[in-house]
Symmetry: C2
Subunit: 274 residues, 2 copies
């Protein structure tokens, strides 16, 4: 039995109850695909974690230390998941963060999720009723607070692979655990602006950065339900799934088109997908 979890570098499976991650959701996480023990998109995950820590005023964990800890738990299964949680350490009795107090690092290996078969050839999704709040100070950050996503995920059982979430003004933002891309009628791509809500996914960033080399254009802008209605193709992304085309949004079918397939193949070829 290999080790699967380290807390601050020590083998452990439980956390001191006083941790600010539990008391205040005062922390961040990264979910990373492991292929034969190798983390995919590692530099991007590190980069986002560091930026998010800075935005919350948290010390940034040492990158080499995190990698060393990840390697210790990674194992060598064909596919697995590494989840890294970084919290602002032990809670004072007050919300006030102590700049001196060291962060807590939880580095953990989890089994690869059991996705339904054939998801790479297209999934059915629904609209969620739960709305995402506007909070510009936290938008984009992969923060521990996932309550809106939990409430949204409770809205359906297994009939859909994912649910699309809108913000309080009705703009379409993301799935509960995925980012969204829209292929417009003119062949350009759009992905929702995340300046007021949502999580800026690492796979989303990878795709945005590879657009030019694929001869594609993508704009980051507010996405209306109308744009979804008129879309030629729709697809979802995250670090584990890579890219799932949407073949149905509730009653409405969508074509799994060439642009989704082209990006999916490019991610695969670039070794970004487990």
């Amino acid at each position: 039995m290999t080790m699967t979890m380290l807390i601050n570098g020590h083998e452990a499976s439980s956390l001191p109850v006083g941790d600010r991650g539990l008391h205040y959701a005062d922390g961040l996480f990264e979910t990373i695909a492991l292929r034969h023990g190798q983390p995919l998109l590692w530099q991007r995950h590190l980069q986002r974690l560091s930026t998010d820590c800075q935005r919350l005023g948290m010390p940034v964990p040492n990158h080499l230390l995190l990698r060393e800890e990840l390697d210790r738990i990674a194992g060598n299964e064909a596919r697995a998941v590494a989840k890294i949680i970084v919290t602002r350490g032990i809670a004072d009795s007050d919300y006030r963060p102590s700049p001196q107090s060291p962060v807590t690092r939880i580095v953990q290996r989890l089994p690869w999720p059991m996705y339904p078969p054939d998801v790479r050839r297209g999934v059915a999704v629904c609209w969620c009723k739960t709305r995402l709040a506007h909070q510009g100070q936290l938008a984009g950050i992969k923060q521990l607070n996932r309550v809106e996503q939990v409430l949204a995920r409770a809205e359906w059982l297994d009939e859909y692979a994912e649910g699309l979430m809108r913000d309080s003004d009705g703009w379409v933002i993301e799935g509960t655990k995925t980012n969204l891309f829209v292929v417009c009628a003119d062949g350009t791509l759009v992905t929702p602006d995340l300046s007021q809500s949502g999580v800026a996914g690492v796979m989303r960033a990878q795709i945005l950065d590879s657009m030019a080399s694929l001869g594609l254009n993508c704009r980051v802008q507010p996405v209306s339900v109308g744009l979804i209605d008129s879309a030629q193709e729709l697809f979802l992304t995250n670090s584990l799934i890579g890219l799932w085309p949407i073949k149905q949004l509730e009653a409405r079918p969508y074509v799994v088109g060439q642009i989704s397939q082209k990006i999916q193949a490019a991610l695969q070829a670039a070794g970004c997908v487990a």
Copy 2:
């Protein structure tokens, strides 16, 4: 050394890392004043916890069991704090809550906070820059996610006892850990409407329910910065502090007036304050 923490009824000081409280902030808490081991406003705390569980679709913990656990950790110091955390149990790898999975109950005694001297005769407060997001589905709930409060509390050191928070539209909602009451020029009271953000405090509820017997009127309504500017008195409340009059809001002094003192005395006389 008496026991100070129970997790699901067992003495413990650490929590399985897989708990949804840590992963998703998927849970609630209550902070309860203990006076010689007796919880104050116990029925109100239980009531709010139960209502909040129902709003999140979580099973409500058994009331007698919770009280029994609280009694086991309460000790008999003149003053202490009981913190009860209820989470949606062990995380699946998915946000989806499992209706079968039992909640986690953490019942813990903490030391009474070290408040500055003379706070009951008035405190100085500031405005926070961090805004509270609108999220009607969660507004009022004492949920584990306190990130906005952490960011707000990081805005000042010890020069103020509390900071006042506004929502994204500029309405005044509450302090980082307190509710706010405004005594208007005509002697009526107002406390902010919490239908879009904020925590509906137990002491706030106690005060609202005792208004009539004190011969006072209180309206729950949106509170503008202008109303704060024109206020005769201002005060803060929560389960631990009882009532703190505000004697200064940044550069602006306020009178610690008769109505604040009358309510403060009534809470004391009714045994609501430790």
